[in-house]
């Protein structure tokens, strides 16, 4: 996925929305390259349980780097239908390919209202630039 085509939360999660076979909307969620880089040296991730109902802005996972524990927040409302199990044993994927192989979870959306709160790539880039200075 191209970073330019994604939506972003202020807490640095990215979202890609696509229709599933039944016409429902599924959000693939990951962590932006900017956030992954600032965490440095990832050592552990706690993924959400499949089947869990989540609300936008709710912490649904945690990630530990050598010295910091950070929450991962759901950017949308819905049900977690799949998680990237590979990350449990291979967090390098998150560091090396945050927008493809490093995706975190897929959420079947129950409501699309939360998408309006997300930023496009340009706005997110501006947020990152502001944080870096």
């Amino acid at each position: 996925m191209k970073p330019e085509d994604l939506l972003y939360a202020t807490t640095h999660e990215w979202v890609h929305v696509a229709a599933d076979e039944s016409g429902g909307k599924v959000a693939t969620v990951g962590i932006s390259a900017f956030a992954v880089e600032s965490l440095t040296d990832l050592v552990f991730i706690e993924l959400p349980e499949v089947g869990r109902q989540v609300k936008a802005g709710e912490s649904f996972g945690e990630i530990e780097s050598v010295k910091a524990v950070s929450d991962v927040y759901s950017p949308v409302d819905g049900e977690v239908i799949e998680v990237n199990e590979v990350l449990r044993d291979d967090l390098e994927r998150l560091s090396q390919d945050p927008y493809e192989a490093g995706w975190v979870a897929k959420i079947r959306m129950s409501d699309e209202a939360a998408l309006a709160e997300l930023m496009d790539h340009t706005a997110y880039q501006k947020q990152c630039a502001d944080e870096a200075h």
Partner: protein, 249 residues
């Protein structure tokens, strides 16, 4: 440029559960844009803290600390015997430049500590190479691990810190070993290494102004409000005193 101010809390020693709860209260405030806070504190009784993701069963490997109570931190890393040490915490609110730069927050705290120790005649330095082992194979005690930026005196680690990030806010807390604890005799403190009679309060007084300056703040000394203490006590009862939290792994 306008002065950036922070609250400075020189706290009294408290239980492990209340100490962790009060640090979380500071992070709560920072996560909604409240004041930056620097806090110094101690522990009574001496307490073993586990890193957030550390398995409780690992404690079996360290019999010396079995007599003292346990609390799980909200931050990562290894276990710490909080006894004859100086403990600090820093809460940085969302939107502040340091909240987005975890490395700079470490560097400000640890760099100013090395400078402070130097002025006290104690040669210390920042660790330049991490432990080679992966997380799962690392020693139980945090002070037997090495991460880049840890504070070393000779080959001994005497200062280490860890962060918890909630949204865009960050809490960093850390420990400086002042004297060897009978509950972790393998770890010498500054007084043991320098063969000097160093007091926790003296180190705190020497370091405070350097730490505040390194963070870029002007400090307003304060104490907890009654409301904060009440919410801290509630957080003890709903989290830090519970087996469901402390034994969660």
């Amino acid at each position: 440029m306008a002065e950036e101010r922070c609250r400075l809390i020189i706290d009294t020693p408290r239980s492990g559960a209340l100490n962790m709860a009060l640090d979380e209260i500071l992070l709560d405030a920072a996560s909604v844009g409240g004041a930056a806070t620097v806090r110094f504190y101690g522990w009574t009784p001496a307490t073993l803290s586990l890193g957030y993701f550390q398995a409780h069963s690992e404690r079996d490997s360290h019999s010396e600390s079995h007599p003292i109570p346990l609390v799980r931190r909200a931050t990562g890393g290894g276990a710490i015997v909080h006894d004859r040490e100086l403990t600090y915490s820093i809460a940085i609110p969302r939107g502040h430049r340091l909240a987005a730069r975890p490395r700079e927050l470490y560097d400000a705290a640890h760099g100013s500590l090395v400078e402070c120790l130097g002025e006290m005649g104690i040669e210390a330095r920042l660790c330049e190479a991490a432990s080679p082992a992966s997380e799962g194979q690392e020693p139980f005690l945090c002070f037997q691990r090495r991460a880049v930026g840890d504070v070393l005196c000779g080959e001994h680690k005497v200062g280490g810190s860890a962060q918890r990030r909630w949204g865009d806010a960050v809490l960093q807390h850390g420990s400086i070993l002042v004297e060897r604890s009978p509950f972790a005799t393998v770890l010498p403190g500054l007084a043991d290494l320098a063969s000097e009679n160093i007091k926790v309060a003296d180190l705190r007084d020497e370091w405070t102004s350097k730490l505040i300056a390194a963070l870029g703040f002007v400090a307003d000394e304060a104490m907890w409000s009654a409301d904060e203490l009440q919410r801290g006590q509630q957080r003890v009862e709903t989290r830090y005193a519970l087996k469901a939290w402390n034994l969660r792994k």
